[in-house]
């Protein structure tokens, strides 16, 4: 097997600048996530209407749970779809 040393990449693996993710709720001081305004919640949902994971949005655990609960309530009231395509 080629030892890792002599594997030569076509172009050097640029360590993609690791953007320090932050929790937007802590930073902007939002305390309550309202389930009644769907356009704000659309930011936390991908095109198919599924919830985005924390590693992408960078939100803290406490607020990710609040976002999840708000999105599920909005879905119950059909302010947001359960499944969708090209939601954005």
């Amino acid at each position: 097997m080629a030892a890792p040393k002599d594997i030569r990449y076509l172009n050097p693996p640029t360590a993609e600048a690791k953007k320090k993710k932050y929790c937007r709720f802590k930073k902007s001081g939002i305390k309550y996530i309202d389930f009644k305004d769907p356009d704000f919640l659309l930011k936390f949902v991908n095109e198919q209407g599924k919830l985005l994971p924390r590693r992408l949005t960078g939100t803290s655990l406490k607020f990710q749970r609040k976002v999840a609960q708000a999105v599920k309530r909005a879905r119950h009231l059909s302010l947001m779809p359960y499944v969708a395509d090209l939601l954005k």
Binding site: K31, Y32, D34, F35, K36, R73, R75, H76, L77, S78, L79, M80, P81, Y82, A84
Partner: protein
Amino acid sequence: MEKRYETVFILTPVLSDDQAKEAAKKIKKTITDLGGKVVNEENWGLKKLAYPIQKKTTGFYHLIEFAGEGEAIVNNLEVTYKRDERILRFLTVALDKHAVAYADKRKGRVAEAKTKKKESANA
């Protein structure tokens, strides 16, 4: 200890306007009968649903915020929701302190938006 609740319900679009108003009034009356105090009420009117409910794609949305004592008020309210066939869907939520602060701020924002609309209307 008085707790704040918020309930949103969707009325079937088949109703005429005054029937919809009458249904909303009926819900408000049941809340006040059960000893609750209605704090805020909003009527979002006819809105498109994200997915069809009972084969209907639109519905009248109503929001009512009220304060009440004890759980009985919510249980009885939900019983009346289940009995009334004009209501497609409902959701009752208890508000914690952050939610109450947000709701009051939102009430101010909505009232201010309404006055702005009125000014622009007659300006």
